[in-house]
Amino acid sequence: MSLVGAFAASHAPGITGRPSLPPASESEPIFSAYDKLRGRLEAARPEVLVVVSPEHWANFFLDNMPSFCVGIADEFSGPTDEKFVNIPRQSVRGYARLARALAEGIAEDVDLSTSQEMAFDHGVVLPLHLLRIELPVIPIIVNCLAGMPAPLHRCYALGVALRRTVDRWPERVALLGTGGLSHWPAMPESGQIGIDFDRRFLDAFLNGRIESFLRYPQDKLEAEAGPGGHEIRTWITVAGAANRARGLLLAYQPVPAWSTGCAVAALEIERDG
């Protein structure tokens, strides 16, 4: 059976941390899009959800910062930044057996690390909270933060390897990339949004043309989309897994009070049932 859904969504901490700070005309499209995403996720009837999320200092520091890390455990805890996102710390069900199989399959093509004790921050927990889903989760943490983040084209390769792996499985797997788009997080520049960058990226993401972003210069990315723009890595991983499928934009809304160009999208992957 294999991959049954491929989605991507912003995880701006303000969505739950400061829900009423932006005008409703800006916040409602995002809440509504998350509701639509939940409907699509339920319709796909997955048995497990792979969440590709950036690292935000919940697990790794500059002494050892992996590019990609798969969490192999039957239980996780988070968010570590509960006051930042106003979501109480909770237990989240994992799926150790499948997580190990996923890591082994991906590692045939893409180097990665694994963790048997991973903490979740808002990058994983905020979308789960908004989607109100109870599926077991396999986390893949991607360094979009510091040290030496993987080149964007390697994040695409990660997605390709993920798809090749889960397509061999009987289990129904859904994939959710979280983060982005442009943002200058918790900085003096917070509230600035790279609308032009966001629209160009979404156009490529939704129309099977992500190749145009796979060699995007890092300094240009940061100038146009802020330090948070590096989180497009998780979207690019989803695009790699979806094999350049076209998609549907459920919302794009610049929300300065949440410091983020917020987007929610679903890709129309080809599947057999």
Binding site: G17, N59, D81, P188
Partner: protein, 85 residues
């Protein structure tokens, strides 16, 4: 190397509730366990977010800490921008 130590302390305080309790209850002792300059020690003792940001501490080590300390996000941004709320 010293900025590295400041960030390491904040990383520990943010992700480990026991370390956060020490940051609240015995901050001077905690700070003495890291190799910090006098200015870094002062900024941490006074939770001087603007100074910490300007010395190069990553913003996602500061914003969540401000929230955990009960500071609103707009107040945090105002401090970073040099406008006391």
């Amino acid at each position: 190397m010293s900025l590295y130590e400041v960030q390491k302390l904040l990383f520990h305080v943010n992700r480990d509730p026991k370390m956060f309790d020490r940051f609240l209850g015995e901050r001077e002792t905690l700070i003495a366990e890291y190799r910090l300059t006098e200015e870094e020690q002062r900024a941490l003792l006074e939770t001087d977010f603007r100074c910490l940001y300007e010395m190069g501490v990553h913003s996602l080590l500061l914003g969540p800490l401000a929230a955990t300390l009960g500071m609103s996000f707009p107040d945090y941004l105002a401090i970073l921008r040099g406008n006391q709320p």
